[in-house]
Each structure stands twice: as C-alpha cells, then as structure tokens.
Amino acid sequence: MSAPQDQAICRSLAPDGAMLTITATRRPRAGRADVKCAVPGAPGVAERMQQVVRLARHTEPRFDSRDQVVLSLDRAPGAGERDWELAAVLADRMVRGVFQSGQGVVANGWSDAWHLGRIDGRMLARPPAGVLAGGADGLPHLGALGGQPDPGAGISSARAWFPMHSGGDQDGLGWVEVSVRPLARAGQDDDETISAPDLDAVRQAQIRAVLGGARHFDGRGQGQWRTTVRFGEPRFSGDSYQFALVMADRMARGREFVARGRVIATGSSLAWHAGKVEAAEALAAKCALIAREAGAGDRVLLPKDWEAALPQGLREQLRARGASLACVERIGII
C-alpha cells in the first residue's frame, strides 16, 4: 500500500466501441456515506454502483472509515449493460491505493458475487489487447490481479511473473499461470496430467520435466493433480521462466506462503529434483526491468548466485516501493 492519490480514473469499453469513464475522488468523510455514486440521468445505476463497490470492499482486509469516495460515471450506460462494474471497483481501489496500476486502466466485467471477489463474466465478446477482461478466461476474481488463487474456487490457479528481456522495447514482465484440479475428479484418461495447450512439444516436455522435478523435491503433488499451464505471451526463448513456473505451481497447490502482491521470479535449474535454483542470463537488464516494474507488496525472487553481483541500491529501491527481495538457493521454507 502506498500513498493514495486523490483522484483516479478507470475506463470501460461499451459495446458500441465508445469509452465509459469512471472518476473516483477521495475526500474526508465528515459524517457522510462511505461511498457516493453519481450517474447522469440514471439513479438506478448509481445505486447499483454503490452496492457493487461496498460488496467488493468486503474482500479487503483493511477497513478505513475516514474517507469518502465519490464515483461518477461520465454518461449513463445502455440499459442492462453491466461491464462498468469492474471498472467501478478498480477505480475505488485505485483512489485509496489498494490497487496500483501504471497508466489508464480499461476494465470490463460484471459479477453477482462481488462480496467473494469473484468476477462472473463480461459482455464484451472479443476484448482488444490491454483491456482487463473479467471472466473465467481472463480475470476470474479480484485476487488474481496479484496472482493469488481464489480461496473459494474448486480449481486453484496462481500466477507468477518473470522478466522477459530481449533488448527491444517489448521488454516487460510476462506471466505464467498454473491451474490445478484434483485428479480423482478429472476422469481416467491420465496419459499426461500436465498440459500446456499453447506451447510446442519441446517446451511442453520441458515444463513437464521442471514441474515433475520440483514436485519430486516437494514430496507431494505427484499423482494428485491435473495441471494446466498458460503463458501470457507464449512466444519467448530461454529458461529463466522456470523459477516463476515452479513458484506458481507451489502457490496453486497451496504449499507456499502468499505474497501480498505479485511474485516476480527469475532463474532456471538443471536440478529441480533437488530444489536448487541456478543463475539465469542477463542479470543487469533483468534487475533494471524488475526495479522499474515492481510495485507495493510484490515479492522479487532471484537466484542466490546473483546476490554478490546485484546492482547497487536495488534492495533499497525495491523496499522504498514496498516490495521485498530475496536471493534463493533452494525452494521451500528458509
């Protein structure tokens, strides 16, 4: 959590292709309602917005009665349109510093269970790139913004991030998502319990080897789970995604402590069966990238071999942002 600003803007894409803009303003409460909503010409929508925001706040651990948040929508949405709900929730979180995001956020999603943090779906059929799309194939619940598994869902999925570095302006953090469901329920066709549908055969074999090794080291997780692995950007080269993959798998299986923000990890290994984390390439570039991208609550995990060569001030810089860094020799506790 960092210093919240006094105004935040979040947009949502209407079905006609235009933008709906939600502006959130924070001011001292002074005995007024905690949330106030204004929608020109549609008091019903404003009422629903207040309800949505209040319900979504139940998923936050920290309650603050000192501020009032005023949310206003620039124009009335079409009848029955509900995709603005996610944008309203995010605007409310951004203005209080609970959720941080770089530039303009565009979000579409609706839910009947905001109090559980679940996002049921969206009306927008094919969201353009860059839109936060709620629903099972995008953002299934609010905790997924930080990669955490949904504590109420029957299928557990977790994300971890890793720096993707090629020297171009495409550099950034990529994510890997591991979803697990109990094998007993998945049926009998257990030819391959770990699948990664977007990837080529070589990479799939590599992922199976990595997860197999790490689960062997863990002592559990073999023969228990049907696993699906997804990448945000399936085309990449190098092995440094492996550590992030292993961490996402451990989080999804409920065997790792939980970070408050995202887990950002880089590192590969030839000995996952022994739990060892070994160095990856491009130390300086990746550290610079991580220093740029990490936010409050994020957990940065780097190989132990890098510890001596870390750039000066990286630790302090991360701590100032509210993130923490650890250099890891072996996965698991301490």
Partner: protein, 379 residues
C-alpha cells in the same frame, strides 16, 4: 434527568455484560458438567472450576468478578469465590497447535508451542486473565483458542503488518517471529515458546478439499436444476444471533477498552511536544469511545418502552461486531507499538488514527435507531 438516563443505560450495559457471562456458562449450578482435571493441559486450557475445589498441582485459578477485575490463586489453595465471581482453573501448558497462516495455502502451516506464564508482577492487569474475563464464556478449549490465534495471525499477515513471503529468508523469519511473539502476548497473554514451519499436507490434503468443493458445486447445480429435490442436510451455517453477538461484542469493548487505553499510554514515551499532543488526542478519543460503549442503549429498544424493529437490531449487532473487530486490530497495533523504535511511529500513529476512527464510527452507528444513510441522501 440526564443523570438518571445515564444511570439507566449504564445499568443496561452492565446487565448486558452480565447476561453475556451467564449465557456463556449457560448451565446453572445444577447442570454444571463435572470438573475434569484430566482434560486440563491436554485439550482444554481453562475450565470453569466449582467453588471449594483444591487447585491441582501445575494449575492456577483465576477469579473474575462482574466488573472484570481478576485475581489469581496458586496451586494448592482452595477456591473460595466471593459474591459474583466466576472461577477458572488454568493449566500453564505448554500447548502445541498448528496454525495456517494463509487461508489460500492450507498445506503449509506453523507448529506453535504456547504457554501461559505465571502472573507478571510489573503489569497492572494480566492479559490472559482479561482474555478469560471478556472472551471465554465457559471453558477455553485448545481448538477454539487455536482458531482465535489463527484469525489474529491471518489478519495481520493480510494487512501486511507481519510478513511471511514466499521463500522467507532467515532475517525475515526472525522479524516475523518477534512480531508474532509480541502479537500473541499482547492479544492473548500467552508466550510463544517455539514456532516452526510445518508441512500439513498429510493432515489437510488440498486436493481432497478442492474435490469436495467441486462435488458441492456440482450438487448445487443439480439442486438448481431440480428445485423440488430435498435440501442437503449438510452445509452447517453459523447463525448470526443479534442478541448474543451484540452482548458478546459490547462486553469485550466494555472490559477491554480501559485496559487497552492504559497499555497505549504506557507503550509510547512521547519524544516531543507534537508527539505528546498526538498521543493525548488518541487517548482522549479512546476514552470517549469507552464512555460511549459504557452508556450504549439496549439493543432491542428504540426509546424507553419502545421496541426496535428486528431489522434495525440486526444492523446494530453488526456494528457492535465490527467495533469488536476494530478492537482486535487495536491490540495488534499495540503489539507493533511495543516493539517499534522511534522510526515507524508516524505510520503507527496513522494506523491508530484509522482504528480509533473505525471504533468511533461503529459505536456511533450502534447508537442510532435507524441507518444514517436515509437522511443524508442529498448530502
């Protein structure tokens, strides 16, 4: 006029607290379960003790009167409760329990060994005795206590006040341990002897949990498809009984706020004038909350002789419960204040401001006879 009103409401509040304690121990003297010393130190931490009992060897007795004042008797003495006193027999332990620090990660836990110390001669009140007086209705079972401790731990971790991140390093673990030890001592009055991470995979299989959850979801869909099917007898839901919840929460606030204030006063030694003012202001506001709790109107009355609608009673009880949750946060903050140096004090005072503001707004809302929303719709 005002004076008598005051006295009446105070009496009400006291009656509320009294009722809480009676409800807690539920059974009258006739149906009181046999005092079973064998359970003490194994599955139970404290058991209500009958009058005249000779306190068995490692245990001690805690006697609490109606106003929450407590005294202790050492082993070997006979319990002779005065009028209005309730007696517990407390085994000092040690006790072992497994806590799950994150609800989302059920297979990794902490094995914690706690003990209840002999009374601290420097303290004006013993925290564990206060815990008995305000929260233990009857017996304190080890399982129930572990659940309370786990909730306190999970909330501190979720708020980021304690940190237990993935691949915790040794320094981070030590910082966590000191924070956790202080939290347990400040919140419950127990000392943590040992705390190690454990693999709970064998006992709490996550795959089996998810399997059951998926089965329940499938059942729910089947039920929705065939609405006239019989409802499943399973899925026990904890009912929210406004009168009980409200009495319990108000009792806690009534007994604990004065002790909390006392502890907050001791915990900070103001370095300069500015800090002194901040500290004084905080104590003054806590005092007003405490006064507000002490004079809280009865749950079921809108005005003398005028019953309040059940819906509004439910709303009032919810506010009481949220005020009690803020009280929990205040104890956790006190633990952080105790081990903090001069450095993070600004941040901690801001947290204190937030928590006291929450206490103020919840206790204010508890006093209202209707939701304040309606009248300020146009504001």
């Amino acid at each position: 006029m005002l004076g008598s009103l005051f006295k009446d409401t105070l009496k009400d509040a006291l009656r509320g607290t009294l009722r809480g304690s009676v409800m807690g121990s539920m059974m009258g003297p006739l149906r009181q379960p046999e005092f079973d010393a064998a359970r003490l130190g194994v599955t139970a931490i404290a058991l209500p003790a009958p009058n005249g009992l000779t306190i068995p060897a490692p245990c001690a007795a805690v006697l609490v009167d109606r106003g929450g004042r407590s005294r202790r008797l050492a082993a070997g003495a006979r319990i002779a409760a005065l009028e209005g006193e309730t007696a517990w027999c407390v085994h000092p332990g040690p006790y072992a329990c497994d806590l799950v620090p994150f609800a989302g990660a059920p297979e990794i836990g902490l094995r914690v060994h706690v003990a209840i110390d002999a009374s601290d001669p420097r303290a004006t009140h013993q925290r564990f005795d206060l815990f008995l007086a305000s929260e233990a209705g009857g017996a304190v079972e080890l399982d129930g206590f572990a659940e309370l401790a786990q909730n306190a731990l999970q909330r501190e971790l979720a708020q980021g006040n304690l940190a237990l991140p993935p691949c915790t390093t040794l320094e981070e673990w030590n910082a966590f341990r000191s924070g956790f030890n202080q939290l347990m001592y400040t919140r419950f009055g127990v000392t943590v002897d040992d705390c190690v991470p454990v693999d709970l995979g064998a006992a709490r299989d996550y795959a089996a949990t998810l399997d059951a959850r998926l089965a329940a979801q499938a059942d729910a869909i089947d039920l929705a498809a065939a609405p006239d099917a019989a409802l499943p007898a399973s899925a026990p839901q904890l009912a929210f009984v406004p009168a009980c919840e409200d009495a319990r929460a108000l009792r806690r606030l009534f007994l604990e706020l004065p002790c909390l204030m006392c502890a907050v006063r001791m915990a900070v030694l103001p370095a300069d004038q500015e800090r002194f003012r901040q500290h004084q202001d905080l104590l003054r506001r806590l005092d007003l909350v405490s006064l507000s709790v002490g004079t809280m109107p009865a749950l079921e009355l809108a005005a003398p002789g005028q019953p309040l609608a059940p819906q509004e009673q439910l709303r009032r009880a919810r506010h009481s419960r949220r005020a009690a949750a803020a009280l929990d946060e205040a104890w956790a903050l006190l633990a952080r204040l105790k081990i903090a140096g001069e450095g993070p004090l600004d941040c901690l005072f801001d947290e204190a401001d937030r928590i006291v503001a929450n206490l103020e707004s919840e206790s204010q809302a508890r006093r209202q006879t209707h939701a304040p929303e309606a009248e300020e719709a146009g504001a």
